[in-house]
Subunit: 391 residues, 2 copies
């Protein structure tokens, strides 16, 4: 028991090299220097008063970007999937009914997560590139009587911005909580948590917020808390148990915060700064900017003879645009050519949209006419230089 | 649905200020500039070839610091608690028996986690500051026939370095997997995953590795994989499902990697760099340095009339030293005085050691005689200036 049998790896002797590239896929997005620099500030303790102040700033920032006054507002120490599990693990008990609206990959994943913890899951599937009407949703609520309805506001796999108005009221009529994924939409399209009756809302740090991936804002309404804090069983995860998280984030009535887990403090610095950037611009300005850039993009795509995957204009996600995969081309060759020649990431489809679309994400600092023109030029070049079958 | 009801928070208009301080508590530790700078490099995609190369570097680095040849070696996108849940969620099915060796808070938490997923949990409790003998462990294995034994190698709450030799063999004799938490010990004390028959081993990024909190190395032996990949039920977490993680980290047989979750790429840069730093120094040198600094610290504490909480020398964790709370003093006043006067964090007890001890962590770059002398000077000053009841 006293000799090393595995030598130090030679690959670690090479210096770390990371290329700078245009991140115009569905995320992560580019991170501006101000936010990267925030994340390189010194590490302090996860229970120091200064980090509690930063966490309080984050809470206020999330309340603003979510448009909510919910006290139970915090950031999960993980990516969007962690927030998704946090939402489902806390709000659903084994044997309960869950309804997942599926208009792309996110509804499928929510269904998978709920099944794993023993929920009875039903799905309500929209056609690819489409969305569900309120009457379809009401019919399903009335039939399945779920305790939670999952809905992706921004479906990054299909490029759909799902309409939300009226769905909160419908859910509450059937005593169901409305759980909304806004990972791809937050900051890029209008969203009003309180006014729209959303009970649980989460997002990720790496899209419009332009922070590195690794933290995920989440908020619970009073109605959601009523259910979460009156469970008969403990949530399957200690790490994501809202009783603990609420205390760590100072959202409960307890006089002091107890050690729960070691928060990723430097990721909190970046998240705080990204929320400050969005607050400085103002939500409405940011929504408008994303909408304008998207429309400029749609016009340019039309000129190139390319078609949008989402037919209905008002249901297009301004942050992630899905383009019908150009006829006669191999989509993989197109994205590879653009990466190689323009140092620029755009991506193919995901889940139900694989092979059907190209996806371009222009989020946060990347949402501008200049960046749109850059993508358009790259696409034009690719269409001219990639192989095309004769059709 | 068209007006903002929550205004931008004024707290976010203030610049982000983070103090520089000596992090001599049980973690997180200070992060050297090289590692902080790595984490501020540009964000690239979580599926780009360059990040796969960085992830491969991380895998090789973990194999070295764990002293293992396990193919199933990766870093979880989360803190130590996430790795703990990853280990338990994947290796335990509902109704199975789990044995948690409790010599501080970590065993308690492992027991809590296993209970939440429906395991039958038994605990084997060591006295505070003590540890379990191999014969006590064998008796419990024989009685409870667990599928997994949890053991904290470095118990940061009590300052115990739990002996490991022979426990792997005992576990295997009873067809049980040995799951070891090395969050506080890895890189600071000898540990040989393969030679010691450890089946699942995890650690955190923020202790001896000196990276920011937010990633957690983990490895599974062939024996552990046999169990994990032949489950009857799916693990409760999609995010932590080893089938998915193994593919994302290129540890399986599949020809390509599928999208699972958006890895915290900048945190991976820091982790990669921290593993490079430890590889450059060499594990044995790092172990020696931590041991030497700890012994220098013990001698200095004795001169101050302070007593160590862990009586047996060989069972003292070199990275986190527990000092018997000095008689007549209020421990909170001592730690506050040192923070205020010396800008230096040391901490009180945790879980079973609250009120009983002061805890000083000297990990990675902080493990040196210079830093030890700094802590000793601060302690001396505190003992002279803090209130002492007449006893």
């Amino acid at each position: 028991m006293s000799t090393l049998s595995v030598p130090p790896p030679s690959c670690l002797r090479k210096p770390l090299v990371v290329p700078q590239r245009h991140m115009f896929g569905p995320g992560p997005s580019n991170v501006p220097p101000r936010i990267l620099e925030a994340g390189a500030k010194p590490v302090i303790g996860h229970m120091h008063p200064e980090i509690f102040e930063i966490m309080n700033d984050i809470k206020s920032g999330i309340q603003y970007v979510f448009q909510t006054r919910n006290r139970m507002t915090l950031a999960v120490s993980g990516t969007g999937h962690t927030a998704m599990e946090c939402a489902i693990f806390n709000s659903v008990e084994p044997g309960e009914s869950v309804l997942a609206a599926v208009n792309g990959i996110w509804g499928e994943r929510a269904a998978d997560m709920a099944e794993r913890i023993g929920a009875r899951v039903n799905t309500l599937v929209a056609p690819p590139g489409g969305y569900l009407t309120n009457s379809e949703i009401e019919k399903a609520l009335s039939k399945h009587r779920p305790v939670v309805l999952f809905l992706a506001h921004g479906e990054s796999s299909t490029g759909v911005l799902h309409p939300l108005d009226g769905i909160g009221e419908l859910c509450h009529k059937y005593n169901c909580l409305l759980l909304v994924d806004s990972v791809a939409s937050l900051g890029g399209a209008p969203l009003y948590m309180d006014q729209q009756g959303i009970d649980i809302l989460y997002t990720g740090s790496q899209k419009v917020l332009n922070a590195p991936p690794g933290t995920a804002p989440i908020s619970f309404s009073e109605r959601a808390c009523q259910k979460v804090f009156n469970r008969r069983t403990k949530p399957v995860s200690f790490f994501l148990d809202l009783n603990w998280l609420a205390n760590y984030w100072g959202c409960d009535e307890k006089p002091s915060r107890m050690y729960h887990h070691t928060g990723p403090v430097t990721a909190f610095y970046s998240l705080r700064e990204s929320l400050a950037v969005l607050s400085e611009e103002g939500l409405e300005n940011s929504w408008k900017r994303h909408q304008n850039a998207a429309e400029h993009f749609y016009a340019g795509l039309e000129k190139l003879g390319l078609k949008l995957f989402v037919k209905e204009k008002h249901a297009r996600l301004p942050t992630v645009t899905t383009i019908v995969a150009p006829h006669g081309y191999d989509w993989k060759e197109v994205t590879s050519y653009i990466m190689k020649t323009h140092n620029l990431e755009i991506s193919g489809g995901l889940g139900p949209s694989v092979g059907l679309v190209l996806r371009v994400g222009l989020m946060g600092c990347n949402s501008s006419t200049e960046k749109v023109d850059m993508v358009l030029a790259a696409l034009k070049d690719a269409l001219e230089h990639c192989h095309r079958s004769k059709v």
